[in-house]
């Protein structure tokens, strides 16, 4: 059973702000979904099976070699605001 407090806590951890009017509906939906997820707790897994990877893929490390990278200004074009190679977050009060 998911409570209103659970939703507020998960929203905070998820960095999402939940609209007061929507909490009830979200709590209801999440309860149903968690109830659905709960069905795995009656399932029996193979005792000696630990999942660690699929298709035997292991970490593929490569040498730490410095290569040409992207132009900083080019990368920063996608940011909203900011100048001189910096990101900018304004300190503002909600109106």
């Amino acid at each position: 059973m998911v409570t209103r407090e659970d939703i507020l806590k998960i929203a905070k951890l998820s960095k999402l702000s939940v609209d007061e009017n929507e909490i009830e509906q979200i709590t209801k939906d999440m309860s149903e979904i968690i109830g659905f997820a709960d069905t795995i707790n009656s399932a029996v897994e193979d005792e000696d099976v630990e999942f660690d990877d699929i298709n035997d893929i292991v970490n593929a490390f490569h040498e730490d070699v410095v290569v040409d990278s992207y132009d900083r200004e080019e990368i920063l074009k996608n940011r909203s605001g900011g100048e001189n190679g910096y990101f900018m977050i304004k300190r503002r009060k909600v109106k």
Partner: protein
Amino acid sequence: MERTFSKIKHIKKLFETKQVSCTELTSEYLDRIEEENKVLNAYIRITGEEALQTAKKVDEKIARGESLMPLEGIPMSLKDNISTNGIETTCGSNILKGYVPIYDATVWNILKNQNAVLLGKTNMDEFAMGSSCETSCFGGALNPHDTRHVAGGSSGGAASSVAGNIAVYGLGSDTGGSVRQPASFCGLVGLKPTYGTVSRYGLIAYASSLDQIGPIASCVEDAACIYDSISVYDSNDATSRGSRSKTSDKLDRSIKGMKIGVAKEFFDGIREDIKKSIEKAIKVYEDLGAEIVYFNMPQIKNVLPVYYIIACAEASSNLGRYDGIRYGYKSELYSDVNDMICKTRSEGFGKEVQRRIMLGTYVLSAGYYDAYYKKAQKLRGSIIRAFKSAFESCDVLLAPTVPTTAFELNFTSKDPIETYLTDICTVSANIAGLPALSIPCGFDDKGLPIGMQLIADSFEDAKILNAAYQYEQQMNGEIYKHCNGGEII
């Protein structure tokens, strides 16, 4: 409307014999897009200028008498979660509106080097989270067979573009069925390759241990040709392996003696007419000399909750990067940094994405991790083992792709669980990293296509393409008749 769908091979012949130029063909597709896309909403961005520039290059090569690469000059579409340098890539989300990648995804890099003609970026469920394309911030893509129905999801735009004949093929991505389900809904062939064979570099992540890029095409031969081109080892993707061998030269192999496994659990809750179509397909395989092996796989009943727990857990982490600071949408009114991030995410992400992030956060949070995430990972191990064991006695498995045909519009707005349940047949291949393919096998009483699925062991992509091709040949075009509103040449 009577249409002719051209196979890649046929188009190449037209180029080589100079019956049509690449520029003429590209212009024809662009003209059609202008008309058809108003209804289908398959494309969310059309790249006509770039397409014509590439077409010109191809025509110059043909004029010089140079031979063409496998996908050279073929007009195609890319799902909008595949990064394209200089072309806006949004993942169907408001949070990425205006985002222009500065690099190409490896798959697009490969195709670009082959002078593939990119017609545009296709519509999708937001961050690939959905089964109807309706969670897209651009509205859903419609099914060309009947526009009162969805094209499917999440690669709905890709399927709509191919079935609507406004692209020869499309690349989509499949995390839990997002290539196979829309291919099934639109009467097409959709391949989800073995995990690791196609590079994920530049594919905007949903659930990294499940995501895989795959082709949606109008026939098996085209799907094999595209897979052969894109399944290349890539050092930029730590999980990349590349493919073991080419698949297109194995399509003609006889499947006499091939063992086809049918797990009864895949048929639970499947609509009767779909069951009947699959039974007919099984009969066709028997006629082709395959041996049908019926068996039980009780692990199937766990696949959906296991999938949703793992996928959402990974999504909650992968989508943590959208904070409004480095790229994408940023909220205008906020009191401090944390408030800015929360508001940006709540205003930028749609409801379904927020729901999945919250579910993922919940199953990973202290006190719930062991009961959900850890348990799901253990069950994932059991599911993988069950498949490995099945492949000890079978070459391929045959199952439905989706329990229904294409949903009517506004399906997603209903109960979320009801939507999740429709992924029952497709998610196992992602959980176990296996190759799986959907191919049309009939129609329902409304004329909507029915798809069947073939699954093989890891790196045996050639086997399912071979089995699908043999079925397609045996049906002699029957499965495509009125399916795409025309014939395939």
